[in-house]
């Protein structure tokens, strides 16, 4: 390479590098300058349901006269919890069992009782000046799905129906399912289902769906609020012996921001929303590619939150 070609090359590389740096460090919009009353910064997790829930609770607050700043797709729980502890956000919509186990650093306190999980969660949140409000009936937790054909064949509507036929079934889930108490070992101990085999796939992803579809597994780990299960011909078996801890939707808010009115608005949303509502909204926002804000607005409209 001659001198000119080399400097042109270097300039190109430099330009790319600077673009990358510029993209990486976009200035953060200051959420700290919110007024004491009337303005709430609300974060959503980085998955579709996170945006749906943030819009759902956020629009209810907006309707009540609060000014709401949305930070959708902010990140995972590690990121969102840091943001609320530092006060750069005021509110996020969490999950009772998962958040409990996050703030207690995996102590294993979560049970199948949503109210108990929320109470214990509040015990851990207090020192951080945070609090969890009332949990909703809507649950997004581990669930086990079968094709409708297989459910009919094995005459199964709940997990305890499978104990007798377990030796004909292959269970599929993420690799860790083979060793985690909520998954294969739990199904063996709590339900007495002894599977023919276990197949390592993914957490509720395309591999699990493909394996269920071609019958290389008969039971797969999914999440209870997935929007696409019905359209894929899958049915979730009832967890009749409560193996899974109750991961009910629950708002987590900074104590400095919470007022009786804020509480009232958020608890009213929690009191109404069910797992089926969540499935519908996830289906619209996920497989049907509708905007989460439109999906949430339609739900609130339909259930008279705006009247």
């Amino acid at each position: 390479m001659n001198w000119r070609a080399r400097s042109a090359f270097l300039a190109t590389v430099l330009a790319f590098a600077m673009t990358a740096v510029a993209c990486g460090s976009s200035p953060s919009s200051g959420g700290a300058g919110s007024t004491p009353k009337g303005s709430i910064t609300l974060a959503g997790f980085n998955f579709t349901e996170g945006s749906v829930l943030a819009e759902l609770y956020g629009q209810a607050l907006e309707h009540d006269g609060y000014s709401v700043q949305y930070k959708l797709n902010l990140g995972n729980r590690e990121v969102v919890s840091k943001a609320i502890e530092s006060g750069s956000i005021d509110l996020y919509i969490g999950y009772a069992a998962t958040d409990l186990e996050f703030y207690n650093k995996g102590a294993g306190e979560a049970t199948g009782d949503a109210a108990a999980n929320t109470a214990k969660l509040n015990g851990h949140l207090q020192s951080l000046n945070l609090q969890a409000l009332n949990p909703a009936a809507a649950v997004d937790q581990n669930a086990f799905a079968m094709t409708k054909a297989n459910a009919q064949k094995y005459n199964a509507t709940k997990l305890s129906d499978l104990a007798a036929v377990g030796n004909q079934l292959v269970l599929g889930g993420p690799p860790e399912c083979a060793t985690r108490p909520f998954c294969k070992p739990g199904l063996e101990q709590t339900y007495g289902i002894h599977f023919k085999d276990f197949k390592s796939l993914d957490p509720d992803g395309p591999l699990t769906r493909a394996a269920l579809a071609n019958n290389s597994i008969q039971l797969g780990l999914v999440f209870s609020s997935d929007g696409d299960l019905n359209s894929l011909g899958l049915t979730v078996l009832q967890d009749d012996k409560h193996l899974e801890s109750a991961d009910n939707v629950v708002p987590i808010i900074r104590s400095a921001v919470v007022t009786d009115e804020v509480k009232k608005v958020l608890n009213a949303v929690s009191a109404g929303v069910t797992t089926n509502d969540l499935i519908d909204m996830n289906n619209q926002a996920g497989p049907q590619h509708m905007d989460p804000d439109a999906v949430a607005a339609a739900y609130l409209q339909k259930h008279n939150y705006f009247s």
Binding site: P174, P175, E176, A178, T179, D197, F198, K199, S200, L201, D202, P206, L207, A210, A211, N214, S216
Partner: protein, 234 residues
């Protein structure tokens, strides 16, 4: 040291030598996936490389196309093939075959090109027809380089077949992916060790095969240089 010991314990634990997740099952799966991919790859790559090398045409094209093939990440191809063909061994074999082809095309092309033109001419002079000239004169001379290409491909494929586990396939990669998911790092390292051992064994086995396939006359050419000089001056 603890890691080494726990990996040895893992590998020698009888529980890990039976069942659908046992080492023998995973070994057979790994060999099947890599073996089929290398065979299919060879069936595509060797005729192309040998014929193009013999005629000395389109060499740049063949090399460039196969080098582009090298530049495509196997993992991208694997995920793409999964989207099209779904669950099973087909997407894995497609991705591994694509990986196997380039070294075999390049090496067999070069091997045929490198055959001494005088020998080719002598063969023609003795009345060999084209196919017989390729099969009986040029190919035996080209065997060492062709085999080097096959060896490179096979070792790469054996090491890369670990990716199969990403799309629910079998093989030793299962231990690596599952070990990561289960935070069982002993299993993960044991899987890596098994893959490395299998890759080395593949290299050794194919070197042995090469020794058998290289004609005696050419083996004589490879004796130390001093003796070779004596040969030529004699």
């Amino acid at each position: 040291m603890d890691t080494v010991l726990s990996v040895i314990h893992w590998l020698t634990n009888p529980a890990h030598w039976s069942g659908s997740d046992g080492i023998p099952t995973r070994f057979v799966e790994h060999i099947e996936l890599s073996g089929e991919s290398v065979l299919i790859g060879a069936a595509i790559a060797l005729p192309i490389g040998i014929v193009l090398g013999h005629f000395g045409r389109f060499g740049a094209l063949a090399m460039n196309v196969s080098n582009v093939g090298r530049a495509i990440p196997s993992i991208a191809l694997l995920v793409l093939a999964f989207q099209i063909f779904g669950l099973g061994n087909v997407p894995i074999i497609i991705a591994l075959t694509a990986l196997a082809i380039p070294p075999m095309v390049t090496n067999s092309y070069v091997a045929m090109r490198e055959v001494d033109p005088d020998i080719k001419e002598a063969a023609r002079g003795m009345g060999f027809r084209e196919p017989a000239q390729i099969w009986r004169v040029e190919l035996p001379l080209a065997v060492p380089l062709v085999m080097a290409g096959i060896r490179t491909s096979a070792v790469q494929v054996v090491a890369t077949a670990t990716l199969a586990a990403l799309i629910a396939g079998g093989g030793f990669g299962r231990y690596i992916i599952d070990g990561f998911g289960q935070q069982d790092y002993t299993k993960l390292v044991a899987g890596g060790v098994l893959v490395a051992l299998l890759a080395l064994a593949t290299e050794a086995a194919l070197s042995g095969l090469e020794r058998v396939l290289v004609p005696r006359g050419i083996r004589l050419l490879r004796v130390p240089a001093t003796k070779q000089v004596v040969f030529k001056t004699a």
